[in-house]
Symmetry: C2
Subunit: 152 residues, 2 copies
């Protein structure tokens, strides 16, 4: 059955809040590889190796050198058009970390930004994700459920 | 890059609350295919075709004939050992529907059960999912984030 089974590629991203910086800013990375631009740290989940939460913590560490504690699942972003390379579904978490990030692995540089300072457009659908995050930060509510099907 | 990229197979399940039945019971299905047993309705997301939410609504419809409105993302269940066929990650939603389910597609039969009536063990890790759902139903809190990594 696995030979024919094609599901979206699964990724995990973390919006990292720097809890000992004034105003609790977040970390964005400048991507080393296409699509270029600023993005939320994260990457693909390794099959047979790890859970989605583990992938989120691992990728955050690899790209920023921060040890992140996940605090919420913001949402799953899986519109087939969100990444023009392939159909990816990303589980986006909110996490918190102490210290100061350093760029590593797929990250060319890191930026530390308050939510209201974040420029647009970001890579992928991360403008949408950040809009949901600002809402979460203001209200505690996670991302709305989108794109439900009209049954024929 | 897609040739080498192996991420968990992505599924979507829905805990369907029957809002016009006394006590707001939920729907479980008896599986037609291995692993046998009772399970939450759901199935794999079709790559390039649909979002995870769309897959959840489609699968709920295919297996129960109910048109479901998703109300919350309970959690993502992705322990590599949760399904002994392959590494699957399941996005589990809570949804609500009117009417009475009928078994179809991969479902051999449906059962309508109150949360406290649900037998164990269910297929996959659905006992864990139902425990999280009972907590959600009692408190409004979604599933806890589990299995985070200890960074070396």
């Amino acid at each position: 059955m696995t030979r024919e089974l094609k599901t979206p590629y699964l990724a995990a991203d973390v919006i990292i809040e720097l809890i000992d910086h004034p105003g609790r800013p977040i970390v964005l990375i400048e991507r080393m590889n296409p699509p270029f631009g600023l993005a939320i740290p994260g990457g693909f989940v390794d099959r047979d190796q790890e859970s989605v939460e583990q992938a989120a913590v691992r990728e955050a560490y690899e790209e920023t050198t921060l040890t992140v504690r996940l605090i919420a699942l913001l949402g799953i972003y899986s519109n087939p058009a969100r990444d023009n390379r392939l159909h990816s579904a990303s589980a986006v978490y909110v996490g918190e970390a102490h210290g100061t990030p350093r760029a590593a692995d797929d990250a060319k540089a890191v930026q530390i930004l308050l939510p209201e300072e974040i420029p647009a457009p970001l890579a992928f659908d991360h403008d949408l994700v950040l809009a949901d995050y600002r809402q979460f930060r203001a209200t505690g509510r996670v991302a709305p459920l989108r794109g439900c099907l009209v049954i024929p």
